[in-house]
């Protein structure tokens, strides 16, 4: 899949996409007298409802700008962004959206509970008692307080919600941020680097929360440069680099086809290490197979090409060894990421 191919509008699922960006371009000017530098170049994305969609890319690829355009915090130079079919410039489109910014910094003079109460009042969702909620003020306030307490419990902050945010750790602020993003049970949750700067336990908790949202039928769109996290939870990913889409699709379709290598476990007769026939073969195929590990009884070999695998197996059998297991290793998201970003780099340099 080349960048040119992926820039074309992709197939539409029935009904509006949770988030759709169509040929969005954006440039920023650092100073009035400098030329505007393009950050996004005709980027098109479609986030299907009910999925976890990862937006991946190296630093400076345009992930945060993409998210800000999706939330109408930044206006595109061209192209458009829609949330459930409505243009994002219409504030009503954002009623169904929750958002957690990168490295969140909230009003530090507020406590976690006060901040969530403020966010709930602005959420505009009747469930939070905000916006145009019907009923009496008292019932709206009670609904809001109930929602806030429910989310504080969900993010494990119920006992610490009375602490001013200026005295909270990064992890605690991130949890409060996650809670405010989930206020009003939004259908689309947009998270900018939600796992950034968290310890492994914090990352695990955020991952679990994201998975819970999908179970509840919500859509999660998040940016990350931590590929391991994305690989663990994403249904689909979009990889962008220098403002352009370089790969998009489900993880299954992106990673299924490519077998990166095979590992072959060979038990050696009489504990003689790598059999002589294999040593000979290795000399004939320099750099095409390697010994991963070896013991007296068994050695583990790795080959990268299918024809080398056949030859290796034949040589092993001929030497009187027994091939115990052959394991194909498929490409990881990291491999795919590095390959696609690297290819784009080479194409640009050429």
């Amino acid at each position: 899949m080349t960048s040119q191919q992926t820039q074309a509008p992709r197939e539409q699922a029935p009904g509006p996409q949770a988030l759709a960006l169509t040929r969005v371009s954006k440039s920023f000017r650092a100073h009035l007298w400098l030329r505007a530098a393009p950050v996004l170049r005709g980027l098109s994305l479609a986030v299907a409802p009910g999925t976890i969609h990862g937006l991946l890319g190296p630093n400076g690829a345009g992930k945060t700008t993409t998210i800000r355009i999706a939330l109408a915090l930044v206006r595109p130079d061209s192209g458009e962004a829609r949330i459930f079919g409505k243009p994002v410039s219409d504030p009503r489109a954002r009623i169904r959206v929750g958002f957690l910014p990168e490295n969140p910094y909230f009003y530090d003079y507020l406590t976690g509970r006060e901040f969530l109460d403020l966010s709930a009042r602005l959420a505009g969702n009747p469930g939070t008692g905000g916006g145009s909620a019907g009923g009496s003020r008292a019932s709206a306030r009670a609904a809001r307080a109930g929602e806030v307490e429910r989310l504080l419990r969900a993010v494990g902050m119920a006992g610490r919600a009375g602490i001013p945010l200026r005295r909270c750790s990064k992890g605690m602020v991130q949890r409060i941020g996650m809670a405010q993003a989930l206020l009003g049970e939004p259908d689309l949750i947009i998270l900018d680097e939600p796992m950034s700067g968290l310890d492994p336990i914090g990352r695990r908790e955020i991952r679990d929360l994201i998975l819970e949202q999908r179970k509840a039928g919500k859509t999660v769109f998040f940016s990350s440069h931590i590929l391991q996290d994305a690989e663990m939870i994403c249904d689909r990913v979009s990889i962008i680099d220098r403002g352009m889409l370089v790969a998009e699709g489900s993880l299954d379709s992106l990673l299924a086809g490519e077998i990166r290598s095979w590992e072959v476990a060979v038990s050696t007769p009489g504990g003689s290490g790598v059999p002589a026939a294999l040593e000979e073969l290795g000399k004939g195929l320099p750099g095409r197979w390697e010994v991963v590990s070896r013991s007296a009884e068994e050695c583990l070999l790795r080959v990268r090409a299918e024809e080398d695998l056949d030859e290796l197996i034949r040589a092993a059998c001929a030497s009187g060894s027994r091939v115990r297991v052959v394991v194909p290793f498929r490409e990881t998201l990291e491999d795919l990421f590095l390959r696609r970003i690297g290819r784009e780099d080479r194409e640009r340099r050429a």
Partner: protein
């Protein structure tokens, strides 16, 4: 919008700058009692003069110092992003900020007025005639707040502070454009004086301190007109600020 206004109010009343300004204003009002002892026969006038000056000066300082940083701080610290990603139009954000600061200024006026009347009461002269002057000082502070918000929607706090204080100073001298106009020959110079006179708020309209202290009459229609004039300027300035703010990128 109410939520943003209440949050702005809460932010300001948890800010030490507010208490510092309030402290100095109260000290100045109380000091007027001491200064008045140095004069002969016009002690109340000195107390009233100094008290009204303190209410006006510290209110404007508060409007400028808090007003210029209100929006800028939110953009710099990126707290605005979380709010603006909510389903609210951008002008709600600015209007909420203005509303919150208006509440702070009202509280400031109330406290300083109470301090001034406490001093006057101790002298046995709680003159209610000062209240219209205090009311107009408050209207003036609202106009200055709107100027500060307009500048802070596109420039840094320091520049906004300089611009706002310049508008405040020129706004109190705008009568001089009319005098200058009379002395200039017909042409571009006169036109420029007219433009400057009408393009900037005439803040002298809100200054009736001298008249109330000397018990000179201030007709009710003049008071009402000053309030309408202040409200008009506030709406125009806030509309401009909202226009600028709506076009901004929060990157």
């Amino acid at each position: 919008m109410t939520a943003i206004a209440l949050n702005t109010f809460r932010e300001a009343i948890r800010d030490r700058v507010l208490y510092l300004l309030l402290f100095f204003a109260v000290v100045l009002i109380l000091a007027s009692r001491v200064v008045s002892m140095l004069t002969v026969g016009s002690e109340e006038k000195i107390i009233k003069d100094m008290g009204l000056a303190a209410i006006g000066l510290f209110g404007v300082l508060m409007a400028v110092l808090i007003g210029v940083s209100l929006v800028f701080k939110e953009i710099e610290k990126r707290t605005a992003q979380v709010l603006l990603a909510r389903p609210i139009p951008r002008w709600h954000f600015l209007a909420g900020k203005f509303g919150g600061l208006a509440m702070v200024l009202a509280l400031n006026c109330l406290l300083l007025t109470a301090a001034l009347y406490a001093v006057l009461l101790a002298r046995g002269d709680p003159d209610p005639g000062l209240l219209p002057a205090i009311g107009l000082l408050y209207v003036e502070q609202l106009v200055v707040t709107a100027v500060a918000l307009l500048f802070s929607s596109f420039s840094s706090p320091i520049l906004s502070c300089v611009f706002t204080l310049s508008v405040y100073a020129v706004g109190h001298l705008s009568w001089s454009f009319l005098i200058l106009k009379e002395r200039l020959p017909a042409g571009a110079g006169r036109l420029l004086c007219d433009v400057l006179y009408y393009a900037l708020p005439n803040l002298d309209r809100f200054d009736i301190k001298g008249r109330v202290v000397h018990h000179l009459p201030v007709p009710a229609p003049e008071l009402a007109l000053a309030v309408v004039y202040g409200a008009g300027w506030t709406v125009v300035l806030l509309t401009l600020a909202c226009g600028v703010f709506a076009r901004r990128d929060f990157s």
